[in-house]
């Protein structure tokens, strides 16, 4: 047994035969031709055929992995249409009387060298795209079919590296896993493997010869390694792990794409909480119908200085574009208490949880607040974005927020910068906000109940202190009563109310929340499908009758 370590791109286990993938080694023959016009026609026909293939790949990728990942094939089509590329090929055919294969290979080399020599890492990466289209043309010209995996059974594909087109055109039924020697976490292949949910490794230092090819392999995406020729014991352990994995996946598959609606027709929005742009893939994989809490703090915490409007705008825009029309609720800066940023230069406090934090910082430092709001309003032109303000205790705070929102909108209008019309809502996480929720509901578009802080402030218990465990009750009737009250007041004023704290993911309470009429639950991506399971299996009216819930 041999074990090789790599970087895991997607968790999961794959067991099967290993197939070493080698590129269709393009040995291009250099031949003299007489009829240059006929040769140019052969080239142009090959371009049409390649464009057609790329269109098929684009359509396939669009369905399987989404627009953002499919775009690369559209770019490949444009590269094929590039006059400079064509001129070079035609020129070699005409002036040197060379065959089209040779002309394409030479042109491809020249263009990819041009990219490889650029001082921009991203552009250097594009050399691979040029090679990819050139190889496609040569394959067509030489009448060969695209090389691929030609196995009868599903295999673990091991390769030096894989071009995006190679990954997409492999028959998904035949691929258990991708393992590459090269590649980066942000390479197309890594992104595709993630979106396709195939356990995969990159940067795996392993041989690509007969010691591996055709052997039994186990890819452990959890620990980032591949076993070649595993011993009995390893096979036993990994098979068991895989079975558990499969069962979980099966359950999820059944629930994916299902609407979040109870047996008696009550609809609930089931959103995901995320704290980083990297979590977006998880949101999509788990089929959340939106993002209910995007913690914008990471943009600030990762830095040594205030993030600029442009930096923030780019991040928010990426999120709303990736979610493609689904709602994305972004919470404005919530630092202070346990989340500290050095460059904010905040004073030490005796009681930080009750201190200078979240909206209190924003309202006293409007320049920081306005930068974020400008970025949010601008990004709202690109998708379904909503803004949510944390730690509200009084109506005047909301009035102040509205005033600043208006200032930002006026500025953007004056500067001729487009912005959308985002919903604006508040977190209900202080007992004060609960008590005045009827008044607050008149001022905003939605409520989201932050149960973590609400519980801490209501029960006067610091959750970090283990001595208080005995007194801490997550299901305390006071909390449940408060949630009921907030939802009721929201509905009286015609707005929606959701829960984005940990309690929202508590499966013991899902039915009670449904009975209260909670409109939205926002939970960690991994909790989306387990909660959906409860929703689709619940008859709310029946539950209310049987449990005596209100």
């Amino acid at each position: 047994m041999n074990k090789y370590n790599g970087k895991s791109v997607f968790k999961g286990i794959a067991i099967g035969k290993i197939s070493v993938y080698k590129k269709g080694e393009q040995l291009v023959k250099r031949t003299r031709i007489e009829d240059t016009q006929a040769e140019i026609k052969r080239y142009k026909d090959a371009v049409s055929e390649a464009t057609r293939q790329l269109q098929d790949l684009y359509d396939k990728a669009l369905k399987e992995v989404g627009e953002a990942n499919a775009a690369i094939f559209e770019i490949h089509q444009m590269m094929l249409e590039d006059d400079g590329y064509e001129e070079s090929v035609v020129n070699i055919i005409e002036s040197q009387n060379m065959n089209a294969e040779y002309a394409v290979a030479t042109t491809g080399d020249n263009f990819s060298q041009m990219f490889a020599a650029m001082d921009d890492e991203y552009m250097r990466g594009r050399a691979a795209d040029v090679k990819d289209i050139s190889e496609r043309l040569i394959t067509i010209l030489s009448g060969k079919s695209q090389s691929g995996v030609s196995a009868d059974e599903p295999v673990i594909v091991v390769a030096l590296d894989l071009a995006p087109s190679e990954t997409v055109q492999m028959d998904k039924e035949k691929v258990l896993s991708f393992v590459t020697v090269e590649g980066s976490l942000n390479s197309h292949t890594a992104i595709l493997a993630r979106t396709m949910s195939i356990p995969s490794l990159i940067g795996t230092n392993m041989p690509l010869d007969d010691t591996v090819d055709g052997k039994l392999g186990i890819v452990d995406g959890e620990n980032g390694c591949i076993y070649v020729d595993p011993d009995e014991e390893t096979i036993k352990i990994m098979t068991k792990k895989k079975e558990e994995d499969d069962n979980k996946k099966l359950l999820l598959q059944k629930l994916k794409g299902k609407e979040n609606v109870t047996l008696d027709g009550q609809k609930v929005k089931l959103y995901a909480n995320i704290g980083n742009i990297k979590d977006l893939a998880l949101v999509l994989q788990n089929d959340a119908s939106g993002i209910g809490l995007f913690r914008s703090e990471f943009i600030y915490l990762d830095k040594d200085d205030y993030p600029t409007e442009e930096e923030q705008f780019t991040i928010y825009k990426t999120v709303v574009e990736t979610m493609a029309g689904k709602q994305v609720i972004i919470r404005t800066l919530d630092i202070g208490a346990d989340k500290q940023c050095d460059y904010f230069n905040m004073d030490k406090e005796a009681n930080p949880a009750l201190g200078y934090r979240a909206i209190r910082i924003c309202l006293t430092r409007p320049e920081v607040f306005k930068t974020q709001l400008r970025a949010l309003f601008r990004a709202s032109a690109f998708g379904n974005l909503a803004i949510m303000y944390p730690m509200i205790t009084s109506t005047w705070e909301v009035e102040e927020i509205k005033r600043i929102e208006q200032e930002v909108k006026d500025e953007l209008t004056k500067e001729n910068i487009p912005f959308g019309n985002p919903q604006s809502g508040i977190m209900i996480e202080t007992p004060a906000a609960v008590i005045i929720s009827r008044a607050l509901a008149k001022m905003v578009d939605f409520f989201s109940i932050g149960t973590n802080d609400l519980t801490q402030y209501t029960l006067a218990i610091d959750r970090q202190n283990p001595k208080l465990d005995k007194f801490y009750d997550a299901h305390h009737p006071a909390i449940l009563e408060m949630i009921r009250m907030v939802v009721e007041n929201a509905h009286k004023e015609g707005i929606w109310a959701g829960i984005c704290g940990e309690l929202g993911a508590d499966t013991e309470l899902t039915r009670d929340f449904l009975a209260m009429g909670v409109d939205e639950l926002s939970v960690s991506p991994g909790s989306v499908l387990p909660i959906r399971k409860i929703i689709v299996e619940t008859d709310v009216k029946e539950y209310i009758k049987n449990s005596g819930a209100k």
Binding site: I72, E74, I75, M79, D83, G84
Partner: protein
């Protein structure tokens, strides 16, 4: 001839995808549309040429449109740059 300057604000500059979109937008017009950066210029209808200019965030570029539909082309390019770059 219509000409305007624009400073790139996209943090990644004109990388492959925006370059592709730029080419798509430029191809809608008959006019010759060129993009100039630091004295080097490229045809906006050729993706390799645009990518080879390696336009980065903060670079100032000059767009020139010349041809029968240059007014419409310049307006569209201006709108496109503002929105995407």
């Amino acid at each position: 001839m219509k000409q305007f300057n624009y400073t790139i604000t996209d943090p990644e500059g004109i990388h492959a995808r925006p370059a592709g979109e730029l080419v798509k937008a430029a191809k809608e017009f008959e006019s010759k549309i060129t993009l100039e950066k630091d004295g080097k210029s490229g045809d906006c209808k050729k993706i390799f040429t645009i990518m080879a200019l390696a336009v980065k965030n903060g670079n100032e570029v000059t767009i020139t449109c010349e041809g029968p539909d240059e007014d419409a082309a310049a307006a569209k390019m201006q709108e496109f740059m503002k929105e995407k770059m």
